[in-house]
Symmetry: C2
Subunit: 495 residues, 2 copies
């Protein structure tokens, strides 16, 4: 079977894990999810597609059957297979890309849509391995550099299947557990010890459905209406919104390139929300003296610290610092999530804290029916226990490092005061821009099919810095390169 | 293999689906989950247990391996297999019980704990199929008649495994979908049409993580602080708590044996929360004239109706009425959940509403990161598409009907004013009691190892009725019988 026949590269280790039909269904799924194949469009006949790809017809039939079972395709209306109505309404669910071959990974344009007519067509999944992949980015297929999206297509499908098989083998519980699945809490405690220098027992861990759910519990259980909460400025918009919705008073506290400016911590705050591993969005890693100052402040103010460790797993240039919670386990509520390491669609996160706080937070969660799917907890426990999650994070770190390097290469040498910030960790960088230029740059980029976030959304008050937030979790290396070349042109023409 | 060797009955259809090792791991899991096997306790040697049960040693090894993988058991400390530390903190996760054999289903006491000493022991999973099962309810194993727990052990393990296998085969999405998985929304739309007389398209359905999450979205998206919300009195405590936490003003509106008393609807309410299929907790089915009055009131008041359809699937004596939403799709937000049909541990529910409302609610959900595990949505879509969910609901309806009949038989003929209410649907009945007697009855029941809810928790104001809420979702038929015989004695001695 030649590379020529199928665009998804077949590597030795993946060929075993991912049958051909899975590669083909993955390409079709991506085409439907991205809108390149539209509802009602007819797919090539399985016989014709098989001939064109040089595979057996059963491979195609299996791929179609899988997509049919998933709801992407519609029953044969007598004369063929069609894209189902009502799909898609979510982002690209592309097939897996082996990280070592990112440049040859799936791209928009791998599969082109068969015309909507029902006449016999030559199959449209054609092979052209010599085609420059960047050209596959069509004008109508915008490149989305919004931050916060991980590359879920990089998840090894065999590992994913194994994890859910384990989840399905566990007997369903009759009610939600108070703290979450014991096996998952034990696995996370080991993980936090190993990777984040955080010593805590499984009884100090509460499973959540993600950082937002953890923040809701903190606000509900530990704050009274009107309590002041210090939040990094710029910072995580959703954290501000959740605290405000729960009746707290958000007090912005300045963050700079090194993270939270601890000398600016407000008097009277009951809680401070911070992202010490990788300040969101500026990208700084909170230096040790500031960590000590933050803890000293909290101790003397009788305040608690919420440490959002949202993407500590991905670091490139510098070694990670241990979690802040390790320095003051009595004062810090440590929040983690799989939204960046795996996908937000899993809906599993956790918090680690003092036992009495965990009890109070779990009680609040039960009262509000904040639920975390238990089979998903089984699946994550399996991914932890097998080492599959660690392997995935290592592979993705290499892949994200490549994308980041491409962005730095494209945007690194812009004339001052434009400059890149926060490129040492995480899934985004910030491109600082001169005053008055961020909005026009974003608009000009949008006109060229590139969606970027402006930094002003991250400020509660007047923005102290202007710039763009460029996420590279949801795009391929080539898309990142293409987008950043275009951005460079736009920026150079405007500033 | 004889019935004598294994306590979980092996029926023809289940023998194929549930291997012996699964039955044995299920019994052990239940023993650990219920606390009968405690952390650190040593399990029988696999060879000895195999000999005692008359099965091959590989069956036992497989059972231990499964529990080890799930985190219930700890690594061999050199000299055996032990119950892991940190388990359990949630309720009984018993093995599956074939519904047609409920009387012979798993019971506390099926597996007794091996002594904590490490000396060689005869295996403790012994067989005694002639033992009266009711006597297996040990004094320390309380019977929990709290409402709201379904019989998750009744889920067919083969169907459950198939559903999660389908979930694992779907490519993980890189971000949460706006409305939820298209295939699930299509399946639910068909289900609502078929079973609830509700005509709506998949684009009128929003996937939630359950009723509580739906209520949070409604409160966040559609209410302003201080808006009045009418809530049934007595009613769902959590609904009141959620509306209050979101800043709304809860106005109790009387409910009687027929459900919401529509003549008592308060002027000025922006929203009314109601459970027309089966009033929670009194159990009435809202009659058609009241349905019309409710809709008329909402239309003239410019208010919306939230219909919590939480356990409409289980009805015994009377035919279900179509959903209220079918009568006024423009005014009713219809909430559904799998928390009663399958298990709250799944964390998947839905709401159906007008398109503009669905858009507003989805926006609020995205802003709050209210997430529903996407693989769980795939699994539920598979259970719907295969008919497995329908089959499960039909089987459980028969099983619940049996338990309900046992309760009615035990408590039906009590002297007035004691009487049973709401026995025609759902997973609980209410035992009305004379003033001043509910608390002493509940306390005396607790002393006999029977946990029951008193009705006063369901009132926001002074309770207009006294009584007990007796849930039978989480207990076996025999446990229900045992508990209700004891309750009868307690009630007769007190009132």
């Amino acid at each position: 079977l030649s590379r020529h026949a199928i665009e998804l590269p077949v590597t030795a280790d993946r060929a075993a894990a991912e049958p051909l039909s899975g590669q083909i269904s993955g390409q079709l799924r991506a085409a439907i999810a991205s809108g390149r194949l539209r509802a009602g469009e007819r797919l090539p006949a399985s016989r014709a597609l098989a001939a064109s790809l040089g595979v057996s017809r059963t491979v195609i039939t299996a791929a179609y059957a899988q997509l049919y079972a998933e709801g992407w395709l519609d029953g044969r209306h007598g004369s063929g297979t069609f894209v189902a109505d009502g799909v898609p309404d979510h982002a690209v669910a592309a097939g897996p890309v082996p990280v070592g071959h990112a440049a040859a990974g799936p791209q928009p344009g791998d599969a082109t849509a068969p015309p909507p007519s029902r006449s016999s067509q030559t199959p449209s999944i054609t092979a052209d391995s010599g085609r420059p992949l960047a050209s596959a980015v069509t004008p109508e297929g915008a490149i989305d550099l919004s931050p916060g999206m991980p590359w879920a297509a990089g998840i090894d499908p065999a590992a994913w299947r194994r994890a859910w098989r384990a989840a399905g083998a566990a007997a369903p519980a009759g009610q939600a557990g108070a703290l979450g699945l014991p096996a998952l809490r034990a696995g996370l405690a080991a993980q936090l010890r190993r990777h984040r220098g955080l010593l805590c027992g499984p009884d100090q861990i509460l499973i959540t459905s993600g950082v937002a759910s953890g923040l809701r519990l903190v606000a509900t259980a530990l704050l009274r209406p009107g309590d002041a909460v210090a939040v990094e400025e710029p910072g995580y918009e959703k954290a501000r919104a959740i605290f405000t919705a729960c009746g707290a008073r958000v007090v912005p506290c300045r963050a700079d390139e090194d993270g939270l400016v601890t000398s600016a911590l407000p008097a009277g705050a009951r809680l401070v929300y911070t992202t010490p591993a990788h300040q969101y969005p500026l990208g700084g890693r909170l230096p040790v003296p500031r960590r000590q100052a933050l803890i000293g402040w909290a101790r003397s103010a009788g305040a608690l610290i919420v440490e959002d460790d949202y993407d500590s797993e991905f670091r490139y240039d510098v070694a990670p610092l241990p979690a802040l919670a390790g320095l003051a386990p009595d004062l810090v509520i440590h929040l983690g999530t799989t939204a960046k390491t795996l996908t937000p669609a899993l809906g599993v996160g956790w918090l680690a804290a003092r036992r009495d706080l965990v009890t109070a937070l779990a009680t609040a969660g039960a009262a509000a029916s904040e639920r975390t799917c238990e089979p998903a907890q089984h699946a994550l426990a399996a991914l932890l226990a097998s080492g599959d999650l660690d392997r995935h994070v290592r592979r993705m770190s290499r892949e994200y490092a490549r994308r980041r390097a491409a962005i730095v290469a494209a945007l690194g040498g812009l004339p001052a005061p434009a400059r890149l910030l926060g490129g040492t960790a995480g899934l985004h960088v910030v491109l600082e821009l001169p005053p008055g230029s961020a909005a026009p740059v974003a608009a000009a980029a949008a006109a060229r099919g590139i969606r970027v976030d402006t930094l002003d959304h991250y400020f509660a008050g007047p923005p102290a810095v202007e710039g763009l937030v460029l996420g590279y979790g949801g795009v391929t290396l080539r898309q990142a390169e293409t987008a950043c070349r275009a951005l460079r042109e736009v920026v150079t023409s405007i500033i």
